[in-house]
């Protein structure tokens, strides 16, 4: 049987400028933050329809936006049966971003997906962000349980215009605003 010791890492001796090159293990950051925290800022959209719907926008530092449900969305409590994407039929394209010039520009309230719950309720998921539709997440269409996993549960990727980013962020709730208002 192999033991963990068999896999112990021992750095090679390497030098440059007469000094030893620090092994990669010495470079470990004192605080390693998870992927979403490192690159994204969380924004929220809460809208009042028949009930209060909560959506999450992960805004990447490169302005790519991943749009999905916030954990407080009522659909999770009801149990999600199916996610469908009506705009996929419209553009008849699995992924819309391959030819970015031709990809659709979505408005903030364009429906990007319909979430159907076990009790028969449906929710129209809004784009939340005005921007070009880059990608629809095929994984959540096939496996709706992913929706609850932050990052993995994104429904669509959008790319807003550079000079509209500030307005878009202002139109959404920041993490502080959101948690102040809606935390249990």
């Amino acid at each position: 049987m192999a033991a963990l010791e068999d896999f112990y890492f021992c750095p090679e001796k390497d030098t440059a400028f007469g000094k030893s090159i620090p092994p990669i293990t010495s470079e470990f950051p004192s605080t390693h933050r998870p992927l979403v925290d490192r690159f994204f800022t969380r924004y929220y959209l809460v809208r009042q329809k028949t009930s209060e719907e909560h959506y999450l926008v992960l805004f990447h530092s490169n302005r790519i936006c991943m749009v999905g449900l916030s954990g407080a969305h009522p659909a999770f409590a009801k149990g999600i049966e199916q996610v469908t994407c009506p705009i996929l039929k419209k553009t008849d394209k699995q992924s819309t971003g391959e030819d970015r010039k031709r990809s659709a520009i979505l408005q903030k309230d364009t429906t990007i997906a319909v979430v159907k719950c076990c009790d028969g309720t449906t929710y129209n998921v809004p784009s939340c962000v005005k921007g070009k539709l880059v990608e629809i997440n095929q994984n959540v269409l096939q496996n709706p349980s992913l929706l609850s996993k932050e990052g993995y549960g994104y429904i669509a990727i959008l790319l807003p215009k550079i000079d509209e980013c500030d307005d878009i962020k202002a139109s959404l709730l920041s993490y502080e605003e959101y948690s102040g208002k809606y935390s249990k």
Binding site: M1, A16, F17, I157
Partner: protein, 524 residues
């Protein structure tokens, strides 16, 4: 002998010997030794003797001849002396340490007019007998003969060889009569052409020749078959008149050859972009790999840093180190003042780059253009070796490490990563992971060290964490738990180019980890 008749006539109207031979359609290296060629063709230069009214002898050759009516003295010793003088005293030319040159000479259009006048004269005098007809150029072009006559002389004067990869010397030659004679030609332009030719000629207006004559326009339209020869003769002398002065060297422009300096760089810094990183018109970081290399190499070749083009065999992210033997790169240096890079100079460049303590360059050398194929093509076939520092949420088990030791490799499909999706199209690419070797940090079992050999173009960070299921399979999927990447190093770029040269001749050389060692590392 018929050729002798033509030769005598050309001499009589004032052609130099070389121009006589041109109109006798003598070609190629026959111009290298004119006396020998005359002998071979059985031609006697009787005319000049008779003209001078002297007996044939060595003294007669010293008499100053007229300026040639055809080449306007271009082939004369006098002009050649002027030209070589201008070249050897040229202020920029001497800056170039380059032992080869290419010549580009531009001539006045006046030479075309003179050729036409002689052409008409020869048709009149000899006609079909000697093959002088209106639809066939009567001479071997001056440019062609210039290569045989002028280039060797320039070569001798400069002490440089004629070679296509050498520096470019552009010489503009002009003549005092150019403007006046072309003016005369422009005046008769309206009345000169036969009626059946005016249709063809109307293309002129589109060519924008309103303010004078261009070579293209002249060569296209001013042919014996197109023009009214009588009107031409009334306005322009046939045969051409003997000019008062010889050609002048109007301008000499010099540009150096494009040379290529290759090497390998190692990068030790995690806050250094590959090329200048500019966001919204502002620099994000002060330096870049490109600038640190170029600023130490460009000055020697006396080329502004902004003119140098940097390319490399792939690139790493700003926060990734490049260790091992480093990554091959090449600098394209246009208009270089030098074509050699002595090892001592290369060593100084490498040492200067060392001072940055951010990167290190080895194997700096000049490479021929043909070798650039190594760096520019076949990227898909290259393999890269990386070391990734990864973190788990729970301490690693033997099972996890066994799952991540994959000597046989595997295939993945990778969507364009989210971090570059704002500037790259969304595509799914198949990539091969050739092997993975996993080890654990003895001091912290949550930390893994993964040595990964992949096909070039694989995004490693995404291979580790999966980019939200957009790279499949990823390491997280293989072990069934989250795994993230904290740091990445490039250990090897498998391109054995450029060749190894040890520039560190004054003993400042350091050992660089041997490629074999890295290979062992990957296999074990």
């Amino acid at each position: 002998m018929l050729s002798q008749e033509v030769f005598d006539y050309l001499k009589e109207v004032g052609c130099c010997t070389i121009c006589c031979l041109r109109f006798l359609k003598v070609r190629g290296d026959e111009y290298m030794n004119v006396a020998k060629t005359l002998q071979r063709l059985g031609l006697k230069d009787t005319c000049s003797d008779a003209e001078n009214g002297e007996e044939s002898g060595p003294t007669s050759k010293k008499t100053k001849p007229n300026v040639c009516v055809a080449c306007l003295g271009f082939f004369s010793d006098e002009f050649l002396a002027k030209l070589t003088e201008a070249l050897t005293t040229h202020p920029h030319l001497i800056q170039y340490e380059c032992d080869e040159f290419v010549l580009a000479i531009s001539f006045p259009i006046l030479l075309n007019v003179r050729q036409l006048s002689l052409w008409l004269a020869l048709i009149d005098k000899f006609g079909q007998m000697h093959g002088f007809v209106s639809n066939k150029q009567p001479d071997v072009p001056l440019k062609e003969v210039s290569k045989m006559v002028i280039s060797p002389k320039v070569s001798q004067a400069l002490g440089k060889k004629y070679g296509q990869n050498g520096m470019m010397i552009s010489i503009s030659i002009n003549h005092a009569d150019e403007t006046a004679e072309l003016q005369k030609l422009t005046e008769v332009d309206q009345i000169l052409f036969k009626t059946n030719c005016t249709n063809n000629k109307s293309k002129k207006d589109k060519k924008g020749t309103v303010n004078g004559m261009t070579r293209g326009y002249f060569e296209k339209n001013f042919l014996p078959s197109n023009i009214d020869v009588d009107i031409y003769k009334q306005n322009i002398p046939v045969p051409p008149a003997i000019p008062d002065s010889s050609m002048i060297v109007e301008n000499i422009a010099v540009s150096g050859p494009t040379i290529f300096v290759a090497g390998r760089y190692q990068k030790f810094c995690r806050v250094l972009p590959h090329t200048p990183w500019i966001l919204n018109g502002k620099r994000v970081m002060a330096d870049s790999v490109q600038e640190l290399i170029v600023q130490s190499v460009a000055p020697y070749f006396e080329v502004p840093e902004s003119k140098v083009i940097f390319s490399s065999s792939g690139r790493e992210d700003v926060d990734v180190r490049c260790l091992g033997k480093g990554r091959p790169f090449v600098l394209e240096i246009p208009d270089s003042k030098r074509i050699i890079l002595p090892q001592s100079v290369a060593e100084n460049m490498e040492i200067e780059i060392d001072q940055t303590e951010k990167i290190r360059v080895i194997n700096l050398q000049i490479v021929p253009r043909e070798e650039l194929v190594h760096i520019k093509f076949g990227e898909e076939k290259k393999t890269k070796t990386y070391r990734a520092l990864c973190i788990l949420n729970e301490p690693a088990t033997v099972e996890v490490l066994q799952k991540l030791n994959i000597p046989e490799g595997f295939e993945i499909k990778q969507w364009t990563p989210i971090r570059v999706l704002h500037r790259r199209p969304l595509l799914q690419r198949p990539r091969r992971v050739h092997s993975v070797k996993a080890r654990v940090d003895p001091n912290d079992h949550k930390i893994l060290i993964l040595d990964i050999v992949t096909q070039a173009g694989t995004y490693i960070k995404e291979l580790v964490h999966g980019d939200f299921n957009r790279t499949d399979p990823c390491f997280a999927k293989l072990i069934g738990q989250d795994i993230d990447i904290a740091a990445l190093d490039v250990l090897a770029v498998d391109l054995d180019w450029p060749k190894d040269v040890n520039n560190r001749i004054s003993g400042q050389c350091e050992t660089v980890r041997d490629k074999n060692e890295i290979d062992d590392l990957n296999k074990s």
